[in-house]
Subunit: 358 residues, 2 copies
């Protein structure tokens, strides 16, 4: 058996990617000019397939960046003048908050212990806050903020913008995009693509905010400011020479997922998550790191291990199954298992069987 990656990103490629790469090479996609009609067609296909797959409202735009990390910076530059408010519950939400510190956007934060999420007390968020940030799926700990919490924040603060980091939960997570303003992900997780592309979903309210900031003389960046991205997107282009191959592969994989049906992808994801959580809840050597079921991610399953996790990981490697270590200080105490659309039920059941026997 070839190695099979259950790492939470970069992850196993979506099972159609290799074929699409070969087609791309045959069709000279990497040599195509990013100012050509051919590229505009690729761009249009990627955007349309994503809009269909995620059921994006008409007031949303899709922009491409180099990474999701870049999007942290761009959201804060374009949507915040003087204060953002961050729900922090792990390494990635903390870095988003720290990006706000670096940009001197006076970010506030509400910190939850690792492996859990803050309950959203909307009166904690000051009137002066312009943007509320949720890391919906903390890849470092496997804690996921329930969408209902995010919608609660919207109802209490309809005038503020809401940003959702869904890096490792899309396309699984079924977001009501009317109740948030900007959402982003990176392609190397749920979409099973080679890394090097961030995807930024942005509604008109964010664009208006960026225009307001620019009018006030505030630095909103250059080629990847929202007005610059929008101007090119309206021509199905990007400000810079982008990762053309990455956009092509995203178009194709989003198309494959559309054919399979997002409902079926979500249903299968929930079944596979149940298999994995059931295993780690009832196994003597594992327990879920996220104790409260309502905060458990369906796409990144994190287990505490009784023995050093490197022992588990090594045993699985001998069977060509690659799972993730714990993140940061949890490196040797956790295993992290990605449950992405490319992971079939059969493969997840096989992994569960091996873990069961340990």
């Amino acid at each position: 058996m070839k190695q099979l990656f259950f790492t939470p990103g970069p992850a196993e490629l979506y099972f159609t990617v290799e074929t699409h790469v070969k087609n791309a090479l045959n069709e000279h996609i990497p040599s195509v000019s990013h100012r050509s009609k051919a590229f505009e067609g690729i761009y249009r296909e990627a955007v349309q397939n994503l809009k269909d797959l995620l059921e994006l409202p008409d007031n949303y735009h899709i922009f491409f960046t180099g990474s999701a990390t870049e999007i942290w910076e761009r959201i804060l530059e374009n949507c915040v003048e003087s204060q953002s408010y961050h729900y922090v519950n792990g390494a990635f939400s903390k870095r988003f908050y720290e990006t706000g510190l670096q940009l001197k956007k006076n970010p506030l934060h509400q910190k939850a212990a690792d492996g859990t999420c803050s309950s959203v007390n909307t009166s904690d968020i000051p009137d002066t806050t312009e943007l509320i940030v949720f890391t919906q799926n903390e890849t470092s700990t496997g804690a996921a903020q329930p969408l209902s919490d995010i919608y609660t924040a919207r109802e209490a603060h309809p005038g503020k913008l809401i940003a959702v980091d869904a890096v490792s939960s899309l396309p699984y997570i079924d977001i009501d995009y009317h109740k948030v303003d900007t959402v982003f992900f990176s392609v190397q997780k749920g979409f099973g693509l080679p890394a090097g592309l961030g995807v930024w979903l942005v509604n008109d309210r964010c664009l208006e905010k960026a225009d307001q900031l620019a009018t006030k003389g505030i630095n909103i960046g250059t080629y990847h400011s929202l007005p610059s991205l929008l101007a090119k997107a309206q021509k199905n282009q990007t400000p810079e020479t982008p990762n053309v191959l990455g956009i092509y592969l995203l178009a194709k994989v989003a198309g494959d997922m559309l054919k399979k049906g997002i409902g079926r992808i979500r249903q299968e994801s929930e079944y596979k998550a149940a298999v994995l959580y059931n295993l780690i809840e009832h196994h003597a050597r594992f327990s879920p790191f996220v104790k409260e079921a309502k905060y458990r991610s369906s796409t990144v399953i994190v287990a505490e291990t009784v023995v050093s996790s490197s022992e588990i990981i090594q045993k699985l490697l001998e069977r060509n199954l690659v799972i993730g270590t714990g993140y940061g200080t949890y490196k040797n105490q956790h295993i992290r298992i990605a449950n992405f659309p490319t992971h079939s039920r059969e493969k997840v059941e096989m992994l569960a069987d091996y873990l069961q026997a340990m």
Copy 2:
């Protein structure tokens, strides 16, 4: 015959790329964690091969970004407090200058007519300037600033930083890196790789400048500030999940070029440039857009056409040869031909023969 791209970027892939892509897929490179030893090995190989190929001094570092366009922004954020000075002679050098305007870095500029370069009068550059910017190879017009002009600026202003945009001239151009401070390129031109990766060469003086700006409380960016890039590079890593496949392919192609020898690549480039310039100088329907030979690029050859260039381009397309249109307002009046390392002498001679017969 398969289509052959002489477009000035994205361009024809380096002739070994397809094999490297297949190997990458077999070796699961896109699934490898960017925090793993395996990735660190890829990173180290890319950096070492580039350092060897370009003969970089020890005080240089190599960083990766999403694009060369990103590097315009990052150089200005990290190396300029209050004034940059730009030699502008085409669309790309103009955009670099405009990036300075957007970032409120009070850029000054010296404008040359399209198709030529400014002679460097070092007394024009004010004492208050911190960074002098040269677009060594203007991809829009085929005008190249002689390196001796750049070194003249260095001798007159040893205390200032010098940035060189060599986007479409590396690895051909033989820069004395001791006489400049930062140089950058994008991989989809001379290196013949899929787009989606900028390569930023930076010496210690730039790093010191970024530290000084940060100490003063000036915004130098976040994950892609020079201190952040350096901290990760010292571990052979990147701040974000990067274009891992792109870095892998760069490592391999730089290795292939090392085996061929940079001397031979440069020699062949000059031979092929001579073939193309000789043709367009003596052909009734073409003439070099860059009139003064000393300003002619060896890697991007631009010809004015008597008839609409679309007619020429269309005729070559029928023979599966793809050349570039003119840039911007020159779209129908120019052809642009890339002369990159992947273009063999035989292929360039074939293209020249077809052009000759027109």
